[in-house]
Point group: C2
Chain length 407, copies 2
C-alpha cells in the first residue's frame, strides 16, 4: 500500500478544487491507497516539505462539497518550472526524497501548461532513473482552454459561463441611455481567444451584447476596427465590444505596447494598461462618444457562485479518473476529455502522453472566427454551449458564499 | 378613473425593475387606475412623447417575475435635470401636456438624487399652477445608498451583496501564491463610501479580504496609507485593499487628479485612471511587490444573478407603496424605508417631503469608520447585514440568465 500526493499549480480557477475533490474521493475509496497528502503551493511545497494530510481533513462528503464551491486552489499554487534534469538533478533528487519520506506511490498534479511541463520532466526523470514505484499523472485545468489533446479544459466552462452571464447583464446596463456609447470588455487570454469567444453566448437569450468580438488569434488592425465600430454605431446607439487581453498587431506585438511606451515617458515606468483601456483611448479620440472599458479581471476565474454545473461535474470526474489511472499503474500521461457525441452532448476521459501536451498551445481554429475577424461562427457556439450548462446550489451564510480553507 | 405613468432614471441597478414591478402590480389591481404607461428614458421620454403601454405587456405574474431578475432599467434611463420653472416653464408645459394627452393622474418616478430633484420641481410646479389632479411620487433607487431620510436605498443591498461575495472570492484568488502581493479593489461611490464599506461583509465567513478599507468620507493620506500597507504586509504575504472610487486628498481633490494631469501630458487628453490604478502605481514604486488593481465596474450594479433577496423584496414593496400613495392622493413625497427593529430586522415604509431629500447626500457617519480610517466598525456591519440576506432563484436558459426586454 502506497500513499497518494496531490498538488495544484498555475492560475486559479473555479473548478480546480472540484478536480482535487475527485482525486481525494477516488483515493479515499481505494484499498491500495494509504494516506492522501496535499502539497502546499504546488511543486514548491514538495521541494520545501510542506505537505498536508488530507485523509482526515477531507473525509466527509459535505466538506468535499464545500471544497467544490471554493474558488481558486485550496492547496495554494505556484508558477514554477523545474530546471532540466539533464543539466541538474538537484530539484529532482529533492522531490524523490520527499516521495520516499512520505511513501508516495501516486502523484497527481492539477494544472495548466507549466504544470504539465513539470509532469513531463518528473515522469521522464523517473523513467530514466528506473524509479517505477511512483506513478505521475497530470490533470488539466485552465480557464484559457489552451491545452492540447483535451476537447476542453476543466475550469474553462465556469469562466465561460461567468463571461456569458456577465455579458448579458452588461448588455442591459449599457442600453439604458439614449446617448451614443461604446463599452469595451476585456477578457482573459494572452495566447488563445477561447474565453473571449464565449462572450458570444451572452446573446443566446436575446440580449444584444457583444456586437463585435476580437480574438487574439487574428492580427488586430486599428483602421479595420474603427470601420467596424462606425458601421455598428450607424445601426444602433450603444454597442459592446469584447476583446482578448492578448490582442496583437500585424507585427505580432501586443497592441498595448505602444500605449505602454508612451505612458512610460510620463510615469518613468510602464503603466500596465490593458487592451480595453488602449482601445478606449483610441475610440474616445476617433469617435468621440462616451466610451467605457471594463476588465473582467480575476472575477472570471474566481466567481464560483455562478459556476457551470457541467464544468464542476467534469472537473471532479477527471480528478477521479486521474487518481484511478495512477493507482492502476499509469504514469507520464494527462487525463483528457473526449467529446464523443454532440447531440446529445456526451464525453469520455482518456489519457495521452504528456509529451504531446506540455509546452504546446491550442488556439481557436481560424474557421471558427468569421471572415471579417470581428465575431465567431456557429461552430464555435456549438462547441461552447454544452460547457456552460447547469447551475449549482451555492451555500451562503450571512448572505455571502461559504468557502473551505484547508490551511 | 385616471391612468398611471412610471419612469426610471439615473444609474442602473439590479433592483430598479423590481420597484417598477411593484408599481405595476399595485396599479394593475387598483380599480381607480385605468392604463399603466411607462416612459422611455425617464423624463426625456415624457418630453418627447415616448410612452409604452405596460398594461398588457406586464399583465401576467411570470413576466413581472422575469422583470425582477432583469438588471438595469427596463424602460431605459436618462441623466437629465429639469430647468427651474421660475426661469422657464417650457419643459413643464410640455410634460403637463403629455399628462393631459394620456390622462395621467399618477406619476411615479424611480431614481436617485437627480430624479428626486425632478420630482421636487415637477410637484412644486403643479402646486404653484394649482394642478391638483396629478399626483407625483418618488421611489428611491441608488447603489450609492446616499439618499437622505430613507434607512437605505433599493438597489444598494444587491450591489453590497455582489461586492461582499466577490470580495470573498477575490480573497481565495489572491491567497494562492507564496509570493508577496497586493490587490486593490476599486468600488463605486464618488461621494459616499457605503458600497466600499460593504466589502467588509466579505470577511464574515472566514475569508481574509479586505485587509484595509478606505472610504471617500475621510481624507486620503498617501503616507498614512503606505504605513498601513507596510504594517499589514509584515503580518501576511498577500493583502487585499478596498477603496472608494471617490478618494480625495486633504485639499478635497480626487487623488486621481494628479495622475490624470501627469497622463494628460503624454496623451494630449486625460486618461481616466481610477483610484485603484493610481494606488497600484504608487505601491509598485514604493513597496515593489506584485500589485494588481481590480475595478468592480458596472458588474456591481448589474450582476442580477447574485441579487439580494431582501433587496428585491423591499424594492418591489416600495414600488407598490409609492403607487398606492399616489393613487390615494399623496404628492410631492418620496417613499422611505424605516428600520423599525434591528433584532430581528424589520422595516416599514413611509413618505417624506421631497424637499428634504432632493440635492442632499447621505454620507457614512464618521463613527462607523474606525479611528485609523482604514476599516469600518461593528455598527456598520450591523447596519449592512440585513440588506444582503437571501438568494433568489434565477431563471437560466442555454446556461445564461434570461432577461425581459420591454422594447
Amino acid at each position: 500500500m502506497k500513499n497518494l500526493l496531490v498538488a495544484q499549480s498555475g492560475g486559479p480557477s473555479v473548478a480546480i478544487n472540484a478536480t482535487l475533490a475527485g482525486v481525494v474521493e477516488k483515493a479515499m475509496t481505494n484499498q491500495n491507497v494509504g494516506k492522501i497528502y496535499g502539497a502546499k503551493n504546488g511543486i514548491m511545497g514538495i521541494l520545501t516539505d510542506k505537505l498536508i494530510d488530507l485523509t482526515e481533513a477531507l473525509a466527509d462528503p459535505e466538506t468535499l462539497q464545500l471544497l467544490c464551491q471554493t474558488p481558486s486552489s485550496a492547496l495554494g499554487s505556484c508558477r514554477m518550472k523545474l530546471s532540466d534534469w539533464e543539466e541538474s538533478t538537484f530539484e529532482y533528487d529533492k522531490i524523490l526524497g520527499i516521495f520516499r519520506k512520505y511513501d508516495i506511490g501516486y502523484f497527481v498534479y492539477i494544472g495548466g501548461n507549466d504544470s504539465m511541463d513539470t509532469v513531463h520532466k518528473l515522469a521522464g526523470f523517473c523513467e530514466r532513473m528506473h524509479v517505477d514505484d511512483v506513478k505521475i499523472i497530470g490533470a488539466p485545468k485552465t480557464i484559457d482552454n489552451d491545452l492540447m489533446e483535451t476537447d476542453h479544459c476543466p475550469g474553462f466552462g465556469s469562466a465561460a459561463k461567468y463571461v456569458a452571464a456577465t455579458m448579458s447583464e452588461i448588455a442591459c446596463d449599457c442600453n439604458v441611455y439614449a446617448q451614443p456609447s461604446i463599452t469595451i470588455v476585456e477578457i482573459m487570454g494572452r495566447d488563445a481567444g477561447w474565453l473571449t469567444a464565449s462572450s458570444a453566448l451572452g446573446r443566446l437569450n436575446g440580449d444584444s451584447a457583444p456586437d463585435l468580438i476580437y480574438l487574439c488569434e487574428r492580427p488586430f488592425l486599428v483602421d479595420r476596427f474603427l470601420e467596424d465600430v462606425r458601421e455598428k454605431m450607424a445601426q444602433k446607439h450603444s454597442i459592446v465590444i469584447a476583446v482578448s487581453e492578448g490582442l496583437r498587431n500585424e507585427e505580432g506585438d501586443y497592441v498595448t505596447d505602444s500605449l505602454q511606451n508612451r505612458a512610460a515617458d510620463a510615469f518613468g515606468h510602464k503603466i500596465l494598461a490593458g487592451a480595453a483601456r488602449y482601445l478606449e483611448e483610441i475610440l474616445r479620440f476617433e469617435i468621440g462618444c462616451k466610451v467605457r472599458s471594463i476588465e473582467l479581471n480575476v472575477m472570471q476565474r474566481c466567481a464560483s457562485h455562478v459556476a457551470s454545473a457541467s464544468d464542476i461535474y467534469e472537473s471532479r470526474l477527471i480528478g477521479a479518473a486521474a487518481a484511478d489511472y495512477a493507482i492502476s499503474g499509469g504514469t507520464g500521461k494527462m487525463a483528457c476529455i473526449r467529446r464523443t457525441s454532440e447531440q446529445p452532448y456526451r464525453f469520455g476521459i482518456d489519457f495521452v502522453d504528456i509529451g504531446q501536451i506540455a509546452n504546446h498551445v491550442k488556439t481557436v481554429p481560424d474557421t471558427w472566427i468569421n471572415e471579417a475577424g470581428n465575431d465567431v461562427t456557429e461552430e464555435m457556439l456549438t462547441y461552447l454551449l454544452p460547457l456552460i450548462q447547469g447551475e449549482l446550489p451555492c451555500t451562503y451564510k450571512n448572505g455571502v458564499p461559504v468557502h473551505l480553507h484547508l490551511y
